[in-house]
């Protein structure tokens, strides 16, 4: 077990380093002069030079890399060139709406998608399966923001049941918080349920072909016992892997959904940074999200070793 942990963590470190290097190069290898792009079209040469020096872009690439990595080790992922606030602080200020949205979506998706996927696999080829698959393919063909607008039109504008946009922290009371969170969370949940239900179905179908399922049926196990005790338990590992991998997609969805519903989260922070060309913020957010993704997937892999005794290195 310890050996497995060491191998898996040892593998994550170089990948994390490569992610860092790619994000570092993404910014440095832009065509033209990043400093000139950053200050905009009406800047003087002196302005450009000032920005270049303040970002350290006048140094050799290797020096910049060493400096950047050194800062990362101290937990410094950069400072906004617009507000002069450290990026980590900006992220901390904006994390609440994004975290709430992600968690609510994740819970709702899991509760909805896994039963739907199991149902589709169980009813393979029949009406319920077809209906779920049609819902699923529509769900991931409609862009998330379009889904958001459809929901706003129906529930906020036509029926006037919920506010159109905005955010209230949970400290202002659960009612106002959840009122503004329902539509964004529902938007993302619909999109992700489409994906996860499809994957759950695939995973269940391959498990339902296994010999031990036939054995379970042959020994007279009831249908629900076959589905949930024998099949779903074995299908869970690929399903959890997919949930982990889809985290990267979920981040993308969060960025878009926050824009639609005007939630002041990390997604909005990213979009504002792009519009203002605040590249340390863009770089910092992308880096942070990638590391979170790697961390989640590492934890999932480690969890397997405890859940499933067959997995060993």
């Amino acid at each position: 077990m310890l050996n497995y942990l060491a191998v898996r963590i040892g593998y994550a470190i170089p990948v994390a380093a490569l992610v860092g290097l790619m994000i570092f190069l993404l910014v440095r290898l832009t065509p033209g002069d990043p400093a000139a792009i950053l200050v905009g079209e009406n800047a003087t040469l002196a302005d450009i030079e000032a920005v270049r020096q303040s970002l350290g872009l006048d140094q050799p690439l290797l020096t910049q890399l060493v400096h950047w990595v050194g800062n990362l080790m101290h937990g410094d992922i950069g400072t906004s060139i617009i507000s002069q606030i450290p990026v980590s602080k900006l992220i901390a200020q904006r994390v609440d709406p994004s975290l709430s949205l992600t968690l609510i979506t994740f819970v709702m998706t899991t509760l909805l998608a896994i039963p739907l996927g199991v149902l589709a696999a169980w009813q393979h080829g029949r009406f319920a399966d077809r209906a779920i698959m049609v819902f699923s393919i529509i769900g991931f063909s409609v862009p998330v923001f379009v889904l958001g607008y459809v929901l706003i039109k129906i529930f906020a504008i036509d029926l006037r049941l919920l506010p159109v946009q905005g955010y209230k922290p949970i400290t202002d009371g659960f009612g106002p918080f959840i009122n503004r969170m329902i539509l964004p969370a529902l938007t993302l949940t619909l999109a992700f349920t489409a994906l996860i239900a499809r994957m759950t179905r695939t995973s269940m179908l391959s498990v339902l072909d296994e010999d031990y399922i036939r054995t379970a049926r042959a020994k007279g196990a009831g249908e629900s016992s076959v589905l949930f005790r024998h099949a779903l338990r074995n299908a869970f590992i690929p399903i959890i892997t997919i949930l982990g991998n889809s985290f990267a997609l979920l981040i993308g969805g969060v960025v878009v959904t926050e824009t639609v519903f005007n939630l002041p989260g990390i997604g909005r922070l990213t979009v504002e940074a792009i519009l203002a060309r605040d590249y340390p913020v863009i770089q910092g957010v992308v880096l942070m999200m990638s590391f979170i993704y790697l961390g989640i997937n590492l934890l999932i892999d480690l969890a397997y070793a405890f859940i499933d005794p067959r997995i060993r290195y």
Partner: protein, 288 residues
């Protein structure tokens, strides 16, 4: 028994195709034709700004009404098909070619496999939308930068697909025979291993094309996409956003066309997958 077998062989292929797939193909074909014939189909210059006719409803002159600049929505939709399809198709081809090359190399040469696959793992860890946004923001929005930004996050999945096929087939007798005969490595990879990857890559290409069109719309929506002098379905939705509460159709018309196009591609992708590789029939290759 024999009868049904015979009839299934002689029945024309089109009759065996589900109605939904036929509908999707017809729709996609129509969009492609319209995109090619855009200058003749459009009734107005898609960029002609007429402040006097802002946000007008549909009429004989403006078939689908006008947007907030008084531009004809129908004509922008027609020209938008060009940009959106171009971005979708070229991104798919670029991602497939790059991914195929890296995947073949990784699968056949274990010495580079370790390093390249870690790079791919790293690339997969960066959320695709964020990578694309950052790329376009830093490189400036143009058709080519948008295509590169969309194609790059798709590469790792193509690499994994191509590599897995190579790993599964490289010890087949016909490959071993070629090795024994002294066939050079590149020739084995190209002539004997590459063709095996094609079925899954063709399927993957349709999915990438669909998601590329969607990602372009997301980039535009966020404000990192192409400027509205090149109409795309994505920037039509983005431009219409501020007027959404006054005139919802300004967002919903391009959104509906975009969704229908992406849906058609996904439906066709599923059908092609089922036909090319019946083993995959139950499943979905697509993770995103």
């Amino acid at each position: 028994m024999l009868q049904t077998l015979l009839s299934s062989v002689t029945r024309p292929a089109i009759a065996r195709t589900p109605a939904l797939v036929l509908l999707a193909s017809a729709l996609l074909l129509a969009i492609v034709v319209i995109a090619f014939l855009a200058p003749w189909v459009a009734t107005h210059d898609p960029n002609a700004i007429q402040p006097a006719v802002r946000l007008k409803p549909a009429s004989a002159d403006f078939l689908l009404g006008t947007d907030s600049f008084g531009r004809d929505i129908f004509s922008r939709l027609v020209f938008g098909a060009r940009a959106s399809l171009l971005i979708g198709v070229v991104s798919a081809i670029a991602a497939i070619l790059a991914g195929l090359f890296i995947g073949l190399v990784c699968g056949y040469y274990p010495s580079v496999d370790m390093l390249l696959m870690r790079v791919m793992d790293g690339l997969m860890a960066i959320p695709g939308v964020l990578l694309a946004i950052a790329f376009v923001a830093l490189w400036g929005a143009s058709i080519s930068s948008v295509i590169i930004a969309i194609a790059i996050p798709e590469i790792p999945r193509v690499v994994r697909l191509a590599r897995s096929v190579v790993l599964a087939t490289r010890h087949e007798p016909y490959v071993e025979a070629a090795v024994t005969l002294g066939t050079p490595g590149w020739k084995i990879v190209w002539r004997h291993l590459m063709p095996n990857t094609l079925p899954s890559l063709i399927v993957q290409a349709t999915y990438i094309c669909a998601s590329a069109i969607m990602l372009e719309a997301i980039l535009s929506f966020i404000g990192a996409g192409l400027g509205s002098e090149i109409p795309t379905w994505g920037n039509m939705i983005a431009d219409g956003r501020l007027y959404f509460q006054i005139k919802p159709s300004i967002v919903f018309i391009p959104a509906a066309v975009l969704s229908a196009c992406v849906l058609s591609m996904n439906i066709i992708g599923d059908e092609v997958r089922d036909r090319l590789d019946p083993r995959l029939k139950k499943g979905g290759m697509r993770v995103g």
